[in-house]
């Protein structure tokens, strides 16, 4: 086998390379040739092909994502914005917080446990790469229909994988979502998010500066993981004797990652690191080209020094390997010894594989020969950008015209009662305790709120009580009906969830899960969702700090519902003031904040009772969301609300049920004037919350709402304890014992998965 060196490539311009097999288009390959002024070497081709893939280059989405920057609201809180591993937000008292959500959808379908586990591993490395100690994870999930046999295969594995990895890392899982819908059959969505905390001065960026600084690869050895493409290069073009089948799925080693976290944080604490990058998709190709292109100089790498798990790997494969649990640090020469000592302390393998150079080239050597000589910017940043055609699908009008408000409604108390039970016991609305009890939400000892609260909340300073809150939301049904407003509703809901617990929303991350960008209808959904989200972030004053795009979530012609998942991060000055979901005390007054309209398009009710999806999603009023949030935060801060729950899918009755069951206390409700019982209970109008107000605070609370112009309607009272036979009663309509509600709400998921 001849090594395809740079010299060789220059000498043999006519050698055919398998660019198509590596996923490059003809014009993309020609661009590479043009950039280099010669044909690429095999190693160069490997690098360009992975880095220019959809996954790494965002080539279909880039033109749209720009809006997040262009429309970014001015925010003093934003310390690091889009483009880094994760955004960083100032939360006061010298603390900064970084958070991000990513997808690991396809691998989780192929190998649910490992796919989901390595998803958690990847997002956590993004957080440590910013210099932060990870403090919590969240996991927004979507599966096919609850009763589909494949869901029984995928869901338990995904949940066990997320738990298996996160629990072992010692990261409390504080929230997420579980949604079932036939549209995700064959395309489950496994999104994982993480939050990290650091001091301002500890922020680290992925860049390699300072000629002579060493590039250190540390963590797991490099194996043949996830390099299906590169093996084509290795086997078919250059060496037929090699095993051509390399695994597409990686196995995670959470123990190794835990060591990686500890030794990275120790190196940060001793200020040993100039720049740092995690190795995720595209492995070393990505880490070296991004570090080099974000820094001021070039980089010289000796690939022979990479510790291998499999000695038969070719240089192309080493560059493309997606072996997990690896990081790359840039360290000044005099600090290398100390850095290596820390790695040794933690039993982490660390190797100097190169150094930062004066020039502006990324040069990679193998067996003493130069096999890569590129401008790293062309690899990392100058990937192709597509203006994919998009068009509002022709079925959109018909879908919206199929008005859910016209569906037959329950007549009388008995039917209402029956539909309430069906709703709260439906897979999407049922308790997810079977799932979330497999996650450690307590580890690190700072979890103030975790599932099933409206948002997770972590104390970050024991002295002052400073804390952060995080909620993730997304409603693919709303987004299918109207992607622009659906994305805004996802943001509004996460924003509301954060505020409901008493935290002030500060910033946004997102994970945009869509079908194929080559379908103009999907591309339209994507464009609309991004536009909607960017507009809404601008209006709410919460910048997007980063995110992730997952495309091609489709089987044949059938794409998933457009599913923008939005994470909102908030801050609370004193976590002792947080507001929980559970009813606390009997006799407290229940207030419904916001306006309730006849809005059933995309609702849980329309799905559960009529298996229907049509009409328009609830109206979006961001000004109202902001006002509601201010009221909820003030109520929490000033002790006016002992519990609060936002209203979202399932409407009021869902919120009352959850607050009642969590608190073990019943509620007596009265349908307010001007509303019918059905709309009161099931409407999904946005911008609403349920608040339990101590009687002594009622006047202060209603005065505040009145003065600010937020409708606040007294709808009932917390009444009775579960052990004494408490009920949820809607006066004049029906009464439901808590025990019956509990059975409906809590037995569904275990039964489905048994």
């Amino acid at each position: 086998m001849t090594l395809d060196t740079v010299d060789n490539a220059t000498r043999t311009p006519d050698v055919e390379l398998p660019w198509a097999e590596l996923g490059l288009k003809k014009d993309e390959y020609e661009r590479v040739v043009e950039i280099l002024g010669r044909r690429p070497t095999g190693a160069e081709l490997a690098m360009y092909s992975v880095m220019w893939s959809e996954h790494c280059s965002y080539k279909s989405s880039k033109v749209h994502l720009r809006q997040f920057g262009e429309k970014a609201p001015r925010s003093d809180a934003l310390l690091v914005g889009i483009g880094e591993n994760a955004g960083v937000v100032d939360v006061g008292q010298g603390y900064a917080v970084t958070f991000k959500v990513e997808s690991h959808n396809h691998p989780s379908y192929v190998e649910p446990y490992q796919g989901a586990a390595t998803g958690v591993g990847g997002i956590v490395r993004d957080i440590i790469a910013m210099g932060a100690r990870p403090v919590a994870v969240v996991d927004p999930l979507r599966f096919g229909a609850a009763d589909h046999p494949d869901t029984k295969r995928v869901l338990p594995g995904v949940v066990a994988g997320i738990g298996g990895y996160g629990n072992c890392l010692g990261l409390p899982n504080i929230g997420g979502e579980v949604v079932f819908d036939a549209c995700y059959q064959g395309n489950p969505l496994v999104n994982a998010g993480a939050i990290g905390v650091m001091r301002h001065e500890d922020i680290h960026l992925a860049k390699a500066s300072g000629a002579g600084n060493k590039v250190i690869l540390y963590g797991a050895r490099t194996g043949g993981d996830g390099i299906g493409g590169a093996s084509i290069l290795a086997s078919e073009t250059f060496d037929d004797a090699k095993p051509s089948k390399r695994p597409a799925v990686q196995v995670g080693d959470p123990f190794q990652e835990k060591l990686l976290i500890e030794c990275t944080l120790e190196a940060f604490a001793e200020k040993l690191v100039v720049g740092i990058q995690d190795l995720g998709a595209a492995g070393l190709s990505c880490a070296t080209s991004e570090l080099a292109s974000n820094g001021s100089g070039g980089m010289h790498v000796v690939l022979d020094d990479v510790p291998l798990r499999d000695s038969t790997l070719s240089p192309e494969e080493i560059l493309m390997s997606e072996s997990q649990e690896r990081m790359c640090a840039v360290v000044e020469p005099e600090k290398v010894e100390r850095f290596l000592a820390i790695c040794e302390k933690w039993d982490v393998i660390a190797t100097v594989i190169g150094e930062v150079t004066d020039g502006d080239r990324l040069e990679i050597y193998w067996h003493g020969e130069k096999i890569v000589d590129v401008d790293p910017r062309t690899v990392a940043h100058d990937g192709p950008v597509y203006e994919r055609p998009y068009a509002r699908p022709d079925w959109q009008d018909a879908l919206q015209a199929d008005d859910a408000n016209k569906l037959p409604r329950p007549a009388g108390g008995d039917q209402l009662r029956d539909q309430v039970l069906r709703l709260v016991g439906s897979p999407n609305q049922a308790s997810k305790a079977w799932i979330t009890s497999q996650y450690d939400h307590l580890v690190q000892g700072n979890t103030v709120l975790a599932q099933p609260q409206d948002s997770g909340m972590i104390r970050i300073d024991e002295e002052s009580g400073l804390g952060v809150a995080l909620a993730t939301d997304g409603n693919g049904r709303y987004a299918k009906l109207d992607p622009y407003h659906g994305a805004q509703l996802a943001l509004a809901e996460a924003y509301r969830n954060v505020a409901t617990t008493g935290a002030r929303p500060l910033a946004v991350s997102d994970c945009l899960n869509f079908g194929s960008p080559e379908d103009p209808a999907v591309m339209w959904q994507f464009a609309e969702a991004v536009r909607g989200l960017a507009d809404a972030c601008q209006e709410l004053g919460t910048p997007v700090t980063g995110g992730n795009v997952s495309l091609y979530n489709q089987t044949g012609e059938a794409a998933i519902h457009p599913t923008p998942v939005v994470a909102v991060l908030g801050v609370i000055d004193d976590v002792a003031r947080r507001t929980p979901v559970a009813f606390q005390e009997e006799g407290q007054l229940l207030y419904l904040l916001g306006d309730t309209r006849e809005e059933f398009g995309g609702s849980a009710w329309s799905q559960v009772v009529h298996d229907h999806l049509g009409g328009l999603p609830p109206q979006v009023d961001l000004e109202r969301e902001r006002l509601l949030a201010e009221i909820l935060i003030a109520a929490s801060r000033d002790g006016m609300a002992d519990s609060a729950h936002d209203l979202s899918d399932g409407g009021l009755v869902q919120a009352v049920t959850e607050s009642a069951l969590l608190g073990g206390k019943g509620a007596r409700l009265v349908v307010p004037d001007g509303l019918d019982a059905f709309t009161f209970l099931f409407s999904e109008s946005a911008g609403r919350a349920l608040v339990a107000v101590p009687r002594s605070e009622e006047l202060r609370f209603t005065d505040m709402c009145g003065a600010r112009g937020l409708p606040a309607t007294r709808i009932g009272v917390v009444d009775g304890r579960e052990e004494d036979g408490a009920v949820v009663e809607v006066q004049g309509e029906f009464s439901l014992p808590l025990t019956e509600l509990r059975t409906a709400h809590e037995t569904t998921i275990p039964a489905v998965l048994a």
Partner: protein, 83 residues
């Protein structure tokens, strides 16, 4: 009644964190000279009736579709001697 054993091992190219952890612990325990450890699963199936080719074929299918995930694992099926 006969016993059929299905051994499931991670494919050689797949990372085996458990086996690695075991191997790394060996020197500390005073065991040298073991250059690699892989850890897998062993299933012992008690089969009613004769283990003929048909039965073995079915167990093979069981291993392929359920006991192992062939994306990352290999397996072998063996009939164990009667005891």
């Amino acid at each position: 009644m006969a016993r059929v054993v299905v051994d499931v091992m991670l494919k050689p190219e797949i990372l085996d964190p458990q086996g690695q952890a075991v191997q790394r612990a060996l020197p500390r325990l005073g065991f040298e000279g073991i250059s690699d450890v892989r850890q897998g699963k062993r299933f012992e199936l008690e089969v009613d009736g004769p283990v003929d080719d048909a039965a073995l074929a079915r167990i093979h299918e069981l291993a392929e579709t359920f006991l192992a995930n062939t994306v990352i694992e290999n397996f072998t099926v063996k009939v164990e001697e009667e005891k």
